[in-house]
């Protein structure tokens, strides 16, 4: 009781300023929007009535983990977290918050990389973790229905028992939740094979800001009846509604998976390998990832459990190529033929095919843990960009060149098959001078090539002001209208995705853009 009175007083006395860097505007502070109310004792009591004591978290230690993002880069000051178990409870919570004008941050596994799942100030955290029931899985249709708080890896195990697999896979699978995956339109390692969430999600149940439970749950593959509203929530990063249930199409689990790790002399050669892979492996190609030598070194150095698959070979670029099919003999023969040709034509210098599942897991562990390795190395500036294939690695090289006098390591890796580069700059700690060499250079370079400044990570709180680099002013205007329509009091995940109205964000000038101030 006392604690709540205390924090309520402190929040109202000070405007909590967070000084963090956003996009092209450097060192401009975001301040807490005064329109939002502050949590009062009666609010907590109301929530306790709905959720019971277990569903209401006010303990500062427990809140600390919920206030911080996975990278340790962003930290909010929420004093209250709620853990509903049903959509009805979410509805009651949001209805109340909407009436009281209390800001809410939906939080799944909290593994996002743009600070989208943590509060900036005292927003209430609405954690979906307790909504973790699988509703049903139809093995003939191949559609899984579940609550949004289910962990991806657990879902994959569940459908795996019935011969299916989740249509996405990412390094965070042990912690991320399907609701978050849908809300961020997560990409991942098998996007190349299974496509986007926009295609795989067959239905959703969403609770809107005013508490309305919007039932868009469906297990149908085809349903052209009216506007496909669920698409608005896929990738909206929790700003248009809170997803409480997901129905998702799961492909059959491939019985034969082959993984190879290849060393190539240059990025241009890697592209030739990709073209050849598409020709030879076509329908069985399930992943095509790349990492550069710097990524390899940093990961090996910081994580002792990672093995180098080719310890005797050193090249600038390495590839992880995976095939998934229904016939081990055929698939292995195809892979072997493709690799032999590539080797004879000297577009690959060396490589290995995993001989058992242990070696497969080991090769994937290397690629999947680069993020973790970078995290252990210190501060990391992360950029997730869609670029034309020919330009992908050029950006890494140019960034490395312009920063060579600084104590940083510039690494490049990513989903080469999707033209998605993960450019990361590793430094001992976060530093404004280092940042000034990265932004807006990286964004402008990307916009010049008509790429995306956030291929799959989303905008979160890191990049709202960069939206202009990849979307026109008219598009952003329309997004604002949708937001106002669905969340007139702006209580859902404020300060995220769309730039604040009172801030000047400059859309990048390409041929079609017009200067805008909102």
């Amino acid at each position: 009781m006392l604690a709540i009175r205390q924090f309520a007083r402190s929040a109202s006395l000070q405007t909590i300023l967070i000084n963090f860097v956003r996009g092209a505007q450097t060192a401009a502070a975001i301040s807490r929007n005064k329109d939002y109310a502050e949590i009062e004792v009666r609010d907590v009591a109301y929530f306790r009535d709905i959720l019971g004591d277990r569903g209401v978290i006010t303990d500062p230690d427990a809140l600390q983990t919920l206030n911080k993002d996975w990278m340790g880069k962003y930290e909010g000051k929420s004093q209250l977290a709620l853990k509903p178990q049903t959509a009805e409870q979410v509805s009651q919570i949001l209805k109340h918050c909407n009436e009281r004008q209390l800001a809410v941050v939906p939080q799944g596994g909290n593994t996002g990389l743009v600070g989208g799942s943590v509060p900036l100030f005292d927003e209430v955290v609405l954690a979906t973790a307790a909504m973790n029931k699988v509703i049903s899985f139809d093995p003939i249709l191949g559609v899984l229905s579940c609550q949004s708080g289910c962990v991806l890896e657990q879902l994959d195990n569940h459908v795996g028992e019935q011969g299916h697999t989740m249509p996405l896979d990412l390094g965070a699978k042990g912690s991320c939740q399907i609701g978050g995956n849908v809300s961020t339109n997560a990409g991942g390692l098998r996007y190349l094979r299974y496509g986007s969430m926009h295609g795989n999600v067959t239905g959703l149940e969403v609770v809107l800001a005013d508490g309305t439970i919007l039932d868009l749950m469906s297990t149908l593959h085809k349903d052209n009846t009216g506007y496909d509203m669920k698409q608005m929530f896929i990738g909206a990063e929790g700003t248009l509604g809170i997803i409480t249930k997901v129905a998702i199409q799961c492909p059959a689990k491939p019985s034969s998976v082959q993984v190879s790790y290849l060393a190539v002399p240059t990025f241009q050669h890697a592209q030739k390998v990709f073209q050849k892979a598409k020709q030879h492996l076509g329908e069985i190609l399930s992943a095509f990832e790349f990492l550069d030598h710097h990524s390899l070194i940093i990961t090996l150095k910081n994580l002792s459990f990672i093995k180098n698959p080719l310890p005797d070979t050193q090249t600038p670029i390495y590839l992880v190529v995976e095939t998934s099919g229904s016939n081990a003999e055929h698939d292995y023969a195809k892979l072997e033929k493709f690799l032999e040709e590539a080797y004879e034509e000297e577009i690959i210098v060396d490589g290995t095919i995993a001989q058992d599942s242990g070696q497969q897991a080991s090769i994937w562990a290397l690629r999947e843990n680069i993020s973790e390795g970078l995290r252990h190395a210190g501060a990391v500036y992360k950029y997730d960009l869609s670029l034309p294939p020919n330009d992908m690695y050029k950006l890494v090289e140019e960034t490395r060149a312009r920063m060579k006098h600084l104590p940083v390591t510039v690494v490049g890796y990513g989903h080469m098959g999707d033209s998605n580069l993960h450019l990361n700059i590793s430094a001992a700690k976060y530093d404004k001078e280092i940042l000034s060499y990265i932004e807006p250079f990286v964004y402008e370079w990307t916009a010049d090539k008509k790429g995306s400044i956030s291929a799959e990570h989303g905008l979160g709180q890191m990049k709202p002001e960069c939206i202009g680099y990849s979307k026109s002013a008219e598009a952003v205007q329309l997004m604002r209208r949708f937001k106002s329509l669905l969340d007139p009091n702006q209580i859902l995940n404020p300060y995220k995705v769309l730039p604040e109205k009172n801030r000047n964000y400059k859309p990048h000038k390409h041929e079609h853009a017009t200067a805008v101030t909102h």
């Binding site: 229904s326 690799l339 290995t352 058992d356 242990g358």
Partner: protein, 251 residues
Amino acid sequence: MKVLVAVKRVIDYNARIRVKTDQTGVELANVKMSMNPFCEIAVEEALRLKEQKVAKEVVVVTVGPKSSQDTIRTALAMGADRGAHILTDTPLLPLNVAKLLAAVVMKESASLCLLGKQAIDDDCNQTGQMLAALLKWPQATFASKVEIDKAAQKARVTREVDGGLQTLLCGLPAVITTDLRLNQPRYATLPNIMKAKKKPIEVLTPEGLGVSLIDGYKRIKVEEPAKRKGGVMVASVAELMDKLKNEAKVL
């Protein structure tokens, strides 16, 4: 010195095992097969001996149906020189396998035979020991470290035993079976994978080797282990005692 390594093709250790509905065995169709992990370690050790110039040639041998050849190819891709495939469709009983291997050892005049300590499908842990007895060679099993003194024709082997580590010194020729911590097997690299295709694999038969196989046992039934029952929370010591006495009947 010629080193013979015996390898076995088994269900991949990460694959989910399902019992066939007719309970005659486990489901093998469409299941990933790999080289037995302990055999892989044996191959790796043999290759290291070759790199140390202790061994001159590494010959890999397997017993089984046609599909077993995959495992030889894997070993050749890792760097073994030649393969020998004893083709037979009979069940792979340790004594039969040991007899066949003994015949090949004599045929090849090998002076060191490396095997995995056990196969992960039957967990027998018998073949290496039986082979040594048939050949009347010394045996050092569960090896976690192997040092060969070529000049003195001796092997110093550290073994993992229940009480800790035991070091044996034995004369060559000998049989050594490998344990998990002996080494970490290498990846098969492309140049070796391609070279492996040209390396010879000799196909042999039990009859050709002059070995008569015993038909020792008949598998009656294979079933899954009983599902683990969930635990029960008890409210007091008295309740616990009651349950242990009257339900579990262990007191």
